[in-house]
Structures are given as structure tokens and as C-alpha cells.
């Protein structure tokens, strides 16, 4: 029984995130439009988009190599792997022993790298320029994300995400100020994480790239929700009733975070692209500050 329940919870978690990622994208689009006083696109629009694109005959540039064909699938697969390792409604599922935060953040970086290579493979001028600026931003975003999770890991004394969440649930992660600063840094990354897939892709490749983007956003939301709002999350071996509660709380958390993101977007508007390096720079420095605060408090303890 101790093996079966975590396994079932793991399978359920994978199915849930696969279903939730496009739905969440639809909800986000609808909410943002509603808060801006518009009628908004239908919530199942991302699903329809996936079906439409998967039926479309793609157009590939003649100069592209096999990299362009396999990179979207690798990007999706690697992002899904990262998403699988971040718990949603239950902790300590089958794969939780390998759920390492440094691995998760690096898998997301790997997914970005494959997308970047596919873009550069197309040899297009515009897509190349866009990739240049995306890489310049990633140089700031990725250290910020890594340092944020490291700050929490230093508080927990482990890199294992499930153990970190379990400790946070028990209220053992101190100091709270460092935790808050790490949350702000990660939140900044989530708010501005609006990477669009390359326009040189088409058909099923574009569908995979879009799905990878939505999964990436869900992964960040789950990571923030799990670390900083670990309320109601069930243990995998506690049975279906606890899972149901955990599932309900997870859905509420998802909607609350998406609502907060949409509200921020409606209040302040989209951050201009030229301001993004400054915003990410602030996030990176905040994350470093969180690490120093944790190390300093441990050193003085």
C-alpha cells in the first residue's frame, strides 16, 4: 500500500498538470481581458489552438536541420519533467526523492536552451534578434531563480523540494524576512515570464512549444504556491480523501495566484521590454539578499 498510493498520486499529478496547463492559460487570458473591461477569449481557447495547430500542415524553412524538428519535443519533454517534479496536491509521491530544486530550475533552463537553438536554427533575421534579447534577459533571470530557491533550500537544509515544502508547512523555515524576499524575487520572475514561441515554427511543433510555455508557467506557480503557501497540501500516502482536499486547495491556490497576476497586469499594465533587464536585476539582487540573510542568520545562530 505504501508504494501504490504514492504511485497513483504521481500518475494523477501528471494527468492534472497536463490538463491544467492549457486551461490555466485560458483562464489567465480571460481574467486579464475581463479586468481590462473586455469580454475576453473563451477559456478553452488554448485547447482549440492545440487541436488546430496539430491538424495544420507546418511550413519549415529549407535551411533548418533536425534540431528544429526535435527541439520543440525536447523542450516540452524537459519542461514536463520539471513540472512532474514539482508537487501539486500531494507531497512525497513516487518521484519526490529526485525532486531537487536545482535540478528543476536547471531543467527549465535546458528547455529554454533547446527553444533558443531551434530559433537560431531557422536562420531568420527577426527570430535571431528576438533570441538575442531573450538570452540577454535569461542571463539575469536564471541566476535570480536559482538564488531564490537556494535561499529557501538553505533555510530548509536540503535541496529536496518535498522536504522543503514539508518544513515550510510546519513553520520551520526561518527567517521569515528572507523567505518574503525570495518570494518577491520569484514572483517578479513569474509576472514577467512571458516568453513566446518562435514564429518560424508551425503545426505540431508550434503546438508543443506553446504547451511547453504554459507548462513552464504552471511549474513556477506550483513552485511558489508549494514553497510559500503550503496550506492544505496532502501526503501521498494519506489516501484519496486527503487528496481531494489537497486537490481543492491546489485549485483555489492556482486561481488565487492567477487572479493576483491578472490584477497586477490590469493595475500596472505590461512591463515594457526595455525595462525588463532592470526589473530582473532587482529580482536577482533581492534573491542574493535573501541568500545573505539566511547565511548571516545561520552564522549568528
Amino acid at each position: 500500500m505504501s508504494i501504490v498510493l504514492p504511485f497513483v498520486a504521481q500518475v494523477l499529478h501528471i494527468l492534472l498538470i497536463l490538463a491544467a496547463a492549457p486551461t490555466l492559460a485560458g483562464v489567465t487570458g480571460w481574467l486579464e481581458a475581463r479586468l481590462n473591461g473586455q469580454s475576453g477569449p473563451p477559456i478553452p481557447l488554448p485547447w482549440r489552438e492545440l487541436i488546430r495547430l496539430s491538424r495544420k500542415t507546418p511550413a519549415m524553412l529549407e535551411s533548418t536541420s533536425a534540431v528544429s524538428h526535435v527541439a520543440p519535443a525536447i523542450g516540452f519533454g524537459v519542461t514536463l519533467t520539471a513540472a512532474i517534479l514539482v508537487p501539486s496536491f500531494a507531497l512525497f509521491t513516487t518521484l519526490s526523492p529526485v525532486a531537487d530544486v536545482v535540478v528543476i530550475v536547471s531543467l527549465l533552463a535546458l528547455a529554454r536552451a533547446t527553444t533558443a537553438l531551434a530559433t537560431l536554427d531557422s536562420g531568420g533575421g527577426r527570430s535571431g534578434l528576438r533570441q538575442q534579447s531573450a538570452s540577454a534577459l535569461a542571463v539575469i533571470v536564471e541566476p535570480a531563480a536559482m538564488l531564490s530557491v537556494l535561499a529557501v533550500a538553505l533555510m530548509a537544509g536540503t535541496l529536496n523540494l518535498d522536504s522543503m515544502i514539508a518544513q515550510q508547512r510546519e513553520g520551520m523555515l526561518m527567517p521569515a524576512a528572507a523567505s518574503l524576499i525570495a518570494l518577491i524575487a520569484l514572483g517578479t520572475i513569474l509576472v514577467t515570464d512571458t516568453a513566446l514561441p518562435d514564429d518560424s515554427l508551425g503545426g505540431i511543433e508550434l503546438a508543443l512549444a506553446l504547451a511547453a510555455g504554459w507548462l513552464r508557467r504552471l511549474t513556477w506557480i506550483d513552485l511558489i504556491g508549494g514553497i510559500f503557501l503550503p496550506v492544505g497540501i496532502a501526503s501521498a500516502d494519506s489516501g484519496p480523501l486527503a487528496w481531494l482536499i489537497g486537490l481543492g486547495v491546489w485549485l483555489v491556490k492556482l486561481i488565487a495566484i492567477v487572479l493576483a497576476l491578472a490584477a497586477l497586469s490590469a493595475l500596472f499594465g505590461r512591463i515594457p521590454r526595455h525595462s525588463l533587464p532592470g526589473v530582473f536585476g532587482v529580482a536577482a539582487l533581492l534573491a542574493l539578499l535573501a541568500v545573505i540573510m539566511v547565511l548571516a542568520s545561520a552564522g549568528m545562530a
Partner: protein, 589 residues
């Protein structure tokens, strides 16, 4: 005592390589390179039995030199780990030299043979004289301007030697060490290594570049480990570790930035190797701090990270430099802005370069990622090494690791994306030719070894680092924290392979044959005379890095009227707040 004759044979092999270096002008054609390959292969084979049987340290004294002074050699686990790397990489470099399309120049063969022989001699040294002799040989071969470096190392050894004794390692180990002398030794060693590895002017010389990556960088780390972690182990204070840690962090960050901005493919590859050198130095610093603070777990993780950075430089660094130079020779240019589309023209070399870049970046499942993970584990295991001041370097190391990981990833994407992918940017680039099959097989063998080292890092560490760590720490190396499986690379690879295969196979029914289109897809017609589009419209590799923030300082200050406050951007405000906060915490104790 199987190691006794092996030590003798290893000394003979080193001397044979040095002799070969002096005779290169008299040897016909590629025979010098073939002989170097043979000697290096023999050296690597000789290292295997003591490595597998975990042989004890053996010492050999040769009555050479002035009366009363003999030459002392030793083979211990630390020197053995570096020696097998040296011979393996030496074999690859010499074989590459022999297999090239052009007859190798005698000065190239001489440099290779002298460097490998000198490195082996330095690694086998058990006294200051032999060490200086080996270092002088390699310095004269690949970095003649760093001729002072061997004498700095000799001075460092003499500083540790008790009065009235010759500068022998066994005499140093038995004598009580002085902390001040140990600190001076550390500073001298770091200075000597920096002199040897300081970036040179760009010469596009593959021999010097590969010998630096494969031999000089590992040798630098060996010297630091030998002189600080081994010979002055008991005298090193925690603050001594901050010197290599800070220096290594700065070097890693600067070199990673250079790698992402360099205009030439070989310069970018060299900068990535410079980052490895910085990372290994910083890890040694962390090791020294953790060991002095009696934190064996943190020290073990740091030592493992050091070894992985060294293996990364030796294996993946050599591969990347060799592949970059093969591309330069095949495409007629090293300039990234003039390369492109090599995946179609030089597929084997491109695949080898990609494998090297994966290992040098910090992406899973590359070797570099596991090194970064181990460094983070070490920081995690050492949070209580003292007060705020002693914690700041750890935060700096964490920041440096995170920043250089992102920079190295960007540099790798840039090199692969610009040089290998896309379309050829020049007619000469479009006529690039694949390297000869023998050269390609050497590159692909190194690529296979790099990938294998990334997939099985714990096994590589068990083979190379475990015995050395046992000697330096007195305990076995943990590859994972207690109660955790650690970084289970095979599970992650299996999971990623499963999900990727699913993403490729499941929508296969819906997948349709792609329409082939020209690069004017966005609605633009092709240029007249350019039916395949304008190749120079592609990204040329610039702009992959963010602009550094520049504080706006008023140029002229008028005393009567207060000048308007400079407009400070967000990051600088945070930085100032940061400094104030640290000052406040520091003052409050």
C-alpha cells in the same frame, strides 16, 4: 608492492617524452607525434593497475644531482588521479596532431612532448627540485612569459620546509607547520597559477590552447591542492580559504562573461575553460574553509566539485578547443559572424563540439551541472562556519555559481547557435569541409567520454577522486547528502527521455509532412541574386548579454548650489540598500 616498478616506468615514460621533445627536429614526418601518442598511451595504461587496486603511496629516490641531494618521486592517489588524466588527454592531443591533414610542425610536436613530459614529472615529484623542473618545462613550452612561476612554487615549498632539511614533501609533512608560512605559501601558489593561466594574446594556436585546457589548468589545481590541502594541511586557517575562493569566483565570472561576448569561436572556448579554472580554484577555497572549520561533509562535496571542474576542463575543454580549431581550419575562419550552417557541412565535428559545450555549461545531464550541484550541496552543508563576515564569501560563491551557470549556458547557445546552426554566412563558410575521419573519430571519442562522464559522474569520482579524498580528508566521499538519493541523473534522463518520446510519438498521427519554404516566409520576397535569402541578416552573435548598468555620476559639482541628485536606477538602489544593511548588521555584531 605493484606500484614500485610502475612508478619507475612512469618516470621513464616522462623522461622519454622529454627526450623525444629534444629530438623532434631529427625525426621524420609525423613519427614524433606517433611516438608521443604511444608514450602517453603507455603512461595511461601504467596508471590503471594502481588506480584500480587502490595502491598505497610509494616513494622512489634516485641518486641524481649534486652530492647529498637526490631526486625524489612519489605516486600517491592525488598524483595518480591527475597523472591518468594527463596521459589520457596527452594521447588525444598527440593523436590529433598525428592525424591532421597537414604534416605537424616540429615545434608543435616539441611543445606537446615537453608539456606532457613536464606535467608528468611535476605530478610525480616528491620534492621541490623535481617539481620546479617539471613546472619549468611546461612553463617554457606553453607560457614562456610565466617563467617566474616555477620559482614561486619552489619558494612556496621552501617556506614550508623545516630548517635544516632539504625541500622534501615527506619532511614537510612530519614537521609542525606555521600558519603564517602556510598563508604565504598559499598566496605564492595562487600567484604562480594566475601567472601561468593568465589569458594570453589571441594567437589561434590549437597546440597551446589544448595543452592549457588539458594539462595546465589541471596542473594548477593540483599544485594548489598539493601545497595547501596536503603539505600545509594542519596550518591552513579558515580565512586562508577565502583567497582562492574570492579569486576563483571573480575569474569564473569574468571568463564566463568573456565566453558569451568573444567574437571568435576559439577565444570563446578558451574563456569557457578559464571559467572551469576559476570554479576549481573557488571549490578548493571552499574545501579549505570547510576542512579548517571541521565540516567533513561540506569539505567532501567541495573536493568532489573541484575534481569535476578539473575533469571538465581536461576532457570537455580539450574536446571543445580541438573541435573549435577543426572548425576554424575547415571553414577558413574563427570569426563567429562568418560561420554558420556547419551542422550540414561538418556534422561529426559539430556533434563533438556540442557535446563539449554541454559538458562545459551548467545544464543537466552535463558534467558541469553536477559540479555546480555539488558546490551548492557544499554551501548547504556549511552554513555555520562563523559570523557574517565569514558567510559573505559563501554567498558570493553561490551568486558566482548561479551567474556563471547562466553565462556559460548563454555562451554555449551562442557558439552552437551561430556557428553550427542556421545558414552559412559567407561563401567560404558554405564551402567548409568535414575533418578527416581519423580526426573525427578522436573528437567523437572525446565527446563520448564527456557525455559518459556526465551520465556516470559518481562512478568517475569513485575511480579518480575517492582515494585522493581519503588521503586528504581521512574519510570516504559522500556523493549525496545523508537520507537523500542526491542527484539521480539516470532517473532524470529516463524521465526526460520518456516525456520527450511521448511528445514525439503521440502526436505522430496528427503530424503532417512539412512544407518547405524559403527564408522569406514572413512575406518578404527574396533579394535579387539571393534566392536563398540574405544570409547576413541572421544573428551574428552580438547582443547575447545584457547591458551593464552604468551609474550616472554628475560630471561637475558646483559647491554653492547643490547639484540635483543623480538618477539612480533600481538595481543600484538595491545595491546601496544592501550595503547599508550589511554595514548595520556588521556594526550591531
Amino acid at each position: 608492492m605493484v606500484s614500485d616498478p610502475i612508478l619507475l616506468f612512469l618516470i621513464v615514460t616522462s623522461v622519454a617524452l622529454l627526450t623525444l621533445g629534444t629530438l623532434t627536429t631529427r625525426l621524420p614526418g609525423t613519427s614524433g607525434s606517433f611516438l608521443t601518442t604511444m608514450f602517453c598511451g603507455l603512461g595511461a595504461l601504467l596508471c590503471l593497475p594502481p588506480l584500480i587496486t587502490r595502491a598505497e603511496t610509494v616513494v622512489l629516490t634516485l641518486p641524481l644531482g649534486p652530492p647529498g641531494l637526490s631526486l625524489h618521486f612519489a605516486l600517491d592517489p592525488l598524483s595518480l588521479a591527475f597523472l591518468i588524466l594527463t596521459f589520457l588527454i596527452g594521447t588525444a592531443i598527440a593523436a590529433f596532431q598525428a592525424a591532421g591533414t597537414q604534416v605537424p610542425r616540429s615545434d608543435g610536436i616539441r611543445t606537446t612532448a615537453f608539456s606532457i613530459g613536464g606535467t608528468a614529472l611535476a605530478l610525480l615529484a616528491a620534492d621541490g627540485m623535481v617539481l620546479t623542473l617539471g613546472l619549468a618545462t611546461i612553463s617554457a613550452s606553453i607560457c614562456p612569459r610565466a617563467i617566474a612561476a616555477p620559482f614561486m612554487i619552489l619558494a612556496a615549498v621552501c617556506l614550508l620546509t623545516p630548517p635544516g632539511y632539504p625541500p622534501r614533501f615527506d619532511a614537510i609533512r612530519t614537521a609542525p607547520a606555521d600558519p603564517l608560512r602556510a598563508a604565504a605559501t598559499l598566496i605564492l601558489t595562487v600567484t604562480a597559477i594566475a601567472t601561468m593561466l593568465w589569458p594570453r594574446s589571441i594567437k589561434h594556436s590549437w597546440t597551446t590552447d589544448t595543452l592549457t585546457a588539458g594539462l595546465a589548468v589541471p596542473l594548477g589545481s593540483y599544485l594548489l591542492l598539493r601545497l595547501t590541502a596536503d603539505l600545509s594541511a594542519t596550518a591552513i586557517q579558515p580565512w586562508c580559504g577565502f583567497i582562492p575562493l574570492l579569486g576563483g569566483c571573480i575569474v569564473a565570472a569574468v571568463q564566463a562573461w568573456r565566453a558569451a561576448a568573444a567574437p571568435d569561436i576559439d577565444t570563446a572556448a578558451n574563456a569557457l575553460i578559464g571559467r572551469q579554472s576559476g570554479l576549481s580554484t573557488a571549490s578548493i577555497g571552499l574545501f579549505l574553509i570547510a576542512r579548517a572549520a571541521d565540516l567533513p561533509a561540506a569539505a567532501s562535496f567541495a573536493l568532489n566539485a573541484t575534481f569535476l571542474a578539473i575533469i571538465g576542463s581536461a576532457l570537455a575543454g580539450t574536446l571543445t578547443v580541438l573541435a573549435a580549431h577543426a572548425i576554424g581550419a575547415g571553414a577558413g575562419t574563427f570569426r563567429l559572424a562568418r560561420l554558420g550552417g556547419l551542422i550540414h557541412l561538418m556534422p561529426g565535428t559539430s556533434a563533438a563540439l556540442s557535446a563539449g559545450l554541454l559538458a562545459l555549461s551548467a545544464l543537466p545531464p552535463g558534467l558541469g551541472f553536477f559540479g555546480m550541484w555539488l558546490s551548492f550541496q557544499s554551501i548547504l552543508s556549511a552554513p555555520r562556519t562563523g559570523g557574517l563576515i565569514s558567510q559573505l564569501p559563501l554567498a558570493l560563491l553561490a551568486a558566482s555559481l548561479a551567474l556563471t551557470a547562466a553565462l556559460a549556458t548563454t555562451a554555449s547557445i551562442r557558439i552552437a547557435g551561430i556557428a553550427i546552426l542556421g545558414r552559412p554566412r559567407t561563401p567560404r563558410g558554405a564551402g567548409a569541409r568535414e575533418t578527416a575521419s581519423t580526426v573525427r573519430s578522436i573528437l567523437l571519442t572525446l565527446a563520448g567520454a564527456s557525455i559518459l562522464a556526465g551520465i556516470l559522474p559518481n562512478q568517475i569520482l569513485w575511480l579518480l577522486a575517492e582515494p585522493a579524498a581519503h588521503d586528504l580528508l581521512g574519510t570516504a566521499l559522500p556523493s549525496a547528502p545523508a537520507g537523500s538519493p542526491g542527484y539521480t541523473v539516470l532517473v532524470i534522463i529516463a524521465l526526460a527521455a520518456l516525456t520527450t518520446t511521448g511528445a514525439m510519438v503521440l502526436p505522430k498521427r496528427a503530424r503532417r509532412e512539412a512544407k518547405i519554404a524559403g527564408p522569406w516566409l514572413d512575406g518578404f520576397p527574396p533579394e535579387i541574386g539571393l534566392p536563398f535569402g540574405e544570409p547576413s541578416a541572421q544573428s551574428a552573435g552580438a547582443g547575447f548579454l545584457p547591458d551593464l548598468p552604468r551609474p550616472r555620476i554628475p560630471t561637475r559639482v558646483r559647491l554653492p548650489n547643490l547639484p540635483p541628485l543623480p538618477k539612480i536606477s533600481g538595481p543600484w538602489l538595491i545595491l546601496i540598500a544592501f550595503a547599508v544593511l550589511l554595514l548595520a548588521i556588521g556594526v550591531s555584531g
